[in-house]
Symmetry: C2
Subunit: 281 residues, 2 copies
């Protein structure tokens, strides 16, 4: 039996730089895959915006990626995953992967005392999506404590990843969770791993930081294998980057984060893409 | 000769809460005027977004205000004033007032040593609009020093107006300007007066803080008098508030800032308003 391949890129989108934390794990686990990243920094943050707005933005991001002929769409953004996943999945001709279930599964696996903290944008926290998903996945009782951290995305997009100010902000946000003796902390926003050294130093060694990147990369690999859509690996992988904001700023910060010079970055006028849903959730 | 009046409201828009600092001065100077405020918190910040995006947002805000039958549009946002004023003015059937020229004029008037600092969003700073305007208005040589303060808008929208973190951030942003011995500091973003107690304490008594609110209110009064459009003052003034984000958060913070309970706040789905320019700049 012949194995089929699909050399088209994996499409990844996020409200800005945060999805790079997921992309990094995808590139590490699946080095033969071409990738195409869209960071919607021009419309960030998503976390404070309404369900309708986030859904509209996500549909436009999907259209852009489909126009680039991707073989899969990864919603590397918790806010968009919690608010627009079903709509995107119902409208996409290619498989769609979200980030909340893989991260929740990881939290259930890693927590020993069943006391799990979740931090995220206001939108993700208000949606209670992590509470519902973790409770569904856990076969023992769990207690979940949530905290919105609205300034984290702005600090991450500003590049203040290991900065005294970020440390002070993290202390303020995390204190209420740490006082509840959590032993696992879900970074429920893909921007937060950019701040992980600060978060780790505040949370201390007894708290495991859960970020979904590695788990998402594993789900992607399973899906590509199941659908016989892996890259055949005969050419070096190509990674392309697009942003709705300043290319210069995106370049500086993405190169720093991915620890390699990123040069192929293009600006996208994302508003020109249609946001008509073929079918709503 | 009979004096004509116009009792329709003055329409004011900003990317969020910042324009309230201008509204407060308008209400103080023109207590008989009805006002209608739109804060676009759902799409803030404007400062990092492209000229095209800010222009599109501003046109939608204009359409919304015109739909409410306002007699004047006040762009109470420096980023939108610097990027979209000409387009708005060319498309509006009612007078349009912006905030940059009044603030610049005030800076020229108040600086004694001709060394003026300007802080603003990345977009306002990159546009160099304050440098051009202040140089045009000054009849003696001036030296202008600029600094972008990207986190200030997020801190203001978060309500951290007099907070240790805001103090640290302000120290980092202001230090390079203070070392140049400025004696006037233009708050080139209408959000910044919300942080003025922190900014004042860092800048010290030898630096005058310039914010454009009072000067803008004076320009509005002149324009209404010239066009015979003042309110006849026969009924108590009505003040209405609209936001594209959470009404609850807007209510808490706006009441705090205006120092009176604000109850008449409505949510607006701003994306439904057309952004077609009748005529571009």
């Amino acid at each position: 039996m012949t194995q089929a391949y699909d050399n088209r890129p994996i499409g990844v989108f996020d409200s800005g730089l945060g999805g790079l934390t997921v992309l990094k794990d995808i590139m590490q686990r699946l080095p033969a895959e071409n990738t195409l990243y869209f960071g919607d920094s021009g419309r960030m943050p998503y976390g404070s915006k309404s369900v309708e707005t986030v859904t509209r933005f996500s549909l436009q991001n999907m259209r852009f990626l489909l126009d680039q002929d991707v073989k899969m769409i990864v919603i590397a953004c918790n806010t968009a995953s919690s608010r627009a996943y079903a709509t995107i999945r119902n409208n996409s001709p290619v498989p769609v992967i979200e980030v909340i279930e893989p991260g929740s599964r990881e939290a259930v696996r890693q927590s020993e005392n069943g006391r799990i903290g979740v931090i995220g944008t206001q939108g993700t926290i208000d949606s209670q999506v992590y509470i519902k998903t973790i409770e569904k996945l856990s076969d023992k009782p769990v207690e979940i404590f949530q905290q919105a951290c609205p300034l984290f995305v702005s600090l991450a997009e500003e590049g203040w990843w290991d900065h005294p100010v970020t440390r002070d902000v993290a202390r303020i946000y995390l204190e209420p969770l740490l006082s509840r003796h959590i032993d696992a902390l879900v970074l429920g926003c893909t921007h937060y791993p950019l701040l992980s050294s600060v978060i780790k130093s505040i949370a201390g060694p007894s708290v495991r930081l859960i970020h979904s990147g590695a788990a998402v990369a594993a789900v992607i690999e399973q899906t590509l294998k199941r659908t016989e859509s892996l890259n055949n690996g005969q050419k070096p992988a190509v990674h392309a980057y697009f942003t709705s904001d300043s290319v210069r700023r995106f370049q500086t910060l993405s190169s720093l984060f991915l620890d390699q010079p990123i040069t192929d970055i293009q600006h996208v006028d994302i508003e020109q893409y249609s946001c008509d849903a073929l079918q709503s959730d």
